[in-house]
Amino acid sequence: MYVAVKGGEQAIANAHRWMADRRRGDRHQPELQTEQIRDQLGLAVDRVMAEASLMDVELAALALKQASGDLTEAVFLLRAYRTTLPRLADSVPLKTEAMHVERRISAAFKDVPGGQVLGPTYDYTHRLLDFMLLAEGEIPDPERAQAGLEACPQILDSLDAEGLIEKELDDGTEPYDITRDPPDFPVDRATRLQMLARGDEGYLLALGYSTQRGYGRNHPFAGEIRQGTVEVEIEVEGFDAPLCIGEVMISECQMINQFGGSREKSPQFTRGYGLAFGRNERKTMAMALIDRSLRAEELGEPVQGPAQQAEFVLAHADNVEASGFVSHLKLPHYVDFQSELELLRRLRREHDLREPSEQERPV
């Protein structure tokens, strides 16, 4: 006799307890500390912070630990926490030109004012497993240039002086806030950039890649990629100048793309822009490609590739939304399924009445 499934509450509690046991693993091994995650899995921490839109290395490390290293789950945990925080102040726009640069490269110029700085990177490493890391060993301190960097002007500004690249001016419009209000398609560039900045890295990477392979090609050069810390400033009543409340590590990418121009306007390079919390170079590069491809309509280019269709790109970029809706297929759907069964059986019955069944049909 069928008995309606009872005790879901107990089952859920037990499932979570089992999961916690799995997460802890072999009790003979020391438990992973969030400080270790923060310091030794820094790029994972950075990715979680970028996609969760919350800069907090401690909490991102905690989310990673709690999620057993599942990045998407960790992003979700941190994002859900973020929602509960009050909005105390809005910062003034970050001055990325005043960044304390740790890494800064340009693929467009051999040398640039302020110099090329490789900084910490996996670029140019031979991707050979380093078996030394299996054993505990001392890692030597880094060798760094003695002289601090000079002022580091934005490389694209040097093109700007000659009028070779489109100008980007702050028109003073209050930006739309996608965390407070639902995006209303079609959305402006500032809103698009917000949505891309918290978009899933893998998704942006694939779409950015698609533009390089011809689906909405726009021929980019990596004009400048920089990483480092910038000051976050807020305006406080009673003070003339904004006050610095701390520093954040960010990555920024500015792509130089092929020309726009018209009969009235002489041709100019165009721009694609990427920005993310932490060391997220791959993500910012992909973001810059997509930012540029989403400007197709504005720049009078034919919209042909998926990466040029704003509503498609933006509505599916958020991995918290995407993983939620995909995973909801695990929830019971037996009422709807029953509806389909009932209809399908009826249709088959009616079909059989109209047509002799295949077995009865003469060969």
């Binding site: 069928y2 309606a4 499934v5 009872k6 005790g7 879901g8 509450e9 089952a11 859920i12 979700f76 994002r79 859900a80 973020r82 929602t83 509960t84 009050p86 407070r180 209000d181 639902p182 209303d184 398609f185 079609p186 509503e311 498609f312 509505a315 918290v320 939304e321 993983s323 939620g324 809706f325 995909v326 995973s327 909801h328 929830l331 019971p332 759907h333 037996y334 009422v335 709807d336 029953q338 509806s339 389909e340 069964l341 009932e342 209809l343 009826r346 249709l347 009616e350």
Partner: protein
């Protein structure tokens, strides 16, 4: 976040506002709800927040419930008509913890009912609010994927494509092949997705005494059917709307007027049919929930 014993002697999480959302957010949602009630069937954009549950698992319904819940409310949560399905249990437990409200499995005893995929069999009263969880609020979405386009179609009452779709079903299958999330026209104006309820439940939407609210968290849209609103399922004169029927009655309570779930009982093709609405089934059997 710590567990504490609340005034009613239940366990509640401290550190969060009553019913989880902060009051500003609730106010924003209530404003949107007022607009939705004023324009029945119209999808109102709202600043949906992340909830500590995944999108697609009822975050829209939960935000609406959180916004309308008061300390005196009695909450019932169902999924597929049942109070004891895992997600219904999870959402009910959530509100027990963050709001400390009384919960029930009895349809009649509840003042707020959050539901996924069903409308309870027992007729609702004007003292009740039914909150639906909605995955895709746009009834035209699978005909026209762009939000920009569908908004214009609603504004112009350009619903011909929907009838064409239903007609194509009839041409191909002899029947309209939509069995759940069956589109309705609300108050002779907006075509609306009633959420993935079976079309069996569609007639209950019409002139219902209760206020019905619909929340789509991921899509950040909400809409409403106020009490006593005319809701008509789309159809044709020669192919009138009809609901599902079964040859069987419920194997547990014998009801022949309720929506039945099919349960496979063995690997020899054995099956039985039982009420999807567990509270209704229990009431029919004279049990106390």
């Amino acid at each position: 976040m710590t567990l504490r014993v609340d005034d009613q002697g239940g366990l509640a999480y401290s550190g969060y506002n009553f019913a989880y959302l902060d009051e500003q957010t609730k106010r924003m949602i209530r404003r949107a709800l007022l607009k939705a009630v004023a324009i029945p069937g119209y999808q109102v954009p709202f600043g949906g927040r992340e909830m500590p549950m995944p999108y697609g698992w009822g975050t829209g319904g939960m935000q609406l419930t959180a916004s309308i819940l008061g300390a005196d409310d009695v909450l019932k949560v169902i999924d597929q008509g049942a109070d004891d399905t895992t997600n219904a249990v999870s959402i009910r437990t959530f509100f027990e913890r963050v709001a400390g409200v009384e919960t029930t499995t009895s349809t009649a005893a509840a003042s707020v009912i959050q539901t996924r995929h069903r409308i309870p069999e027992l007729p609702l009263s004007r003292h009740q609010i039914l909150v639906f969880q909605v995955p895709i609020p746009e009834p035209l979405r699978f005909i026209e994927p762009s939000e920009e386009e569908t908004r214009v179609m609603h504004a112009l009452e350009e619903y011909g494509v929907m009838h064409v779709k239903l007609y194509e079903d009839i041409a191909r299958h002899g029947h309209i092949a939509t069995t759940y999330a069956y589109p309705v026209k609300v108050d002779e104006r907006y075509v609306m997705d009633p959420s993935p309820i079976p079309k069996f439940d569609n007639p209950k939407l019409d002139m219902n005494e209760a206020l019905m609210l619909f929340g789509a968290g991921r899509e950040k849209r909400l809409y409403a059917i106020p009490p006593y609103t005319q809701v008509k399922s789309l159809d044709f004169e020669d192919h009138p709307f009809e609901i599902q029927s079964w040859d069987e009655a419920c194997a547990l309570c014998g009801a022949s007027d309720s929506y039945l779930d099919e349960v496979i009982t063995d690997d020899q093709g054995g099956r039985m049919f039982v009420c999807s609405d567990t509270d209704y089934c229990q009431q029919c059997r004279g049990e106390v929930a």
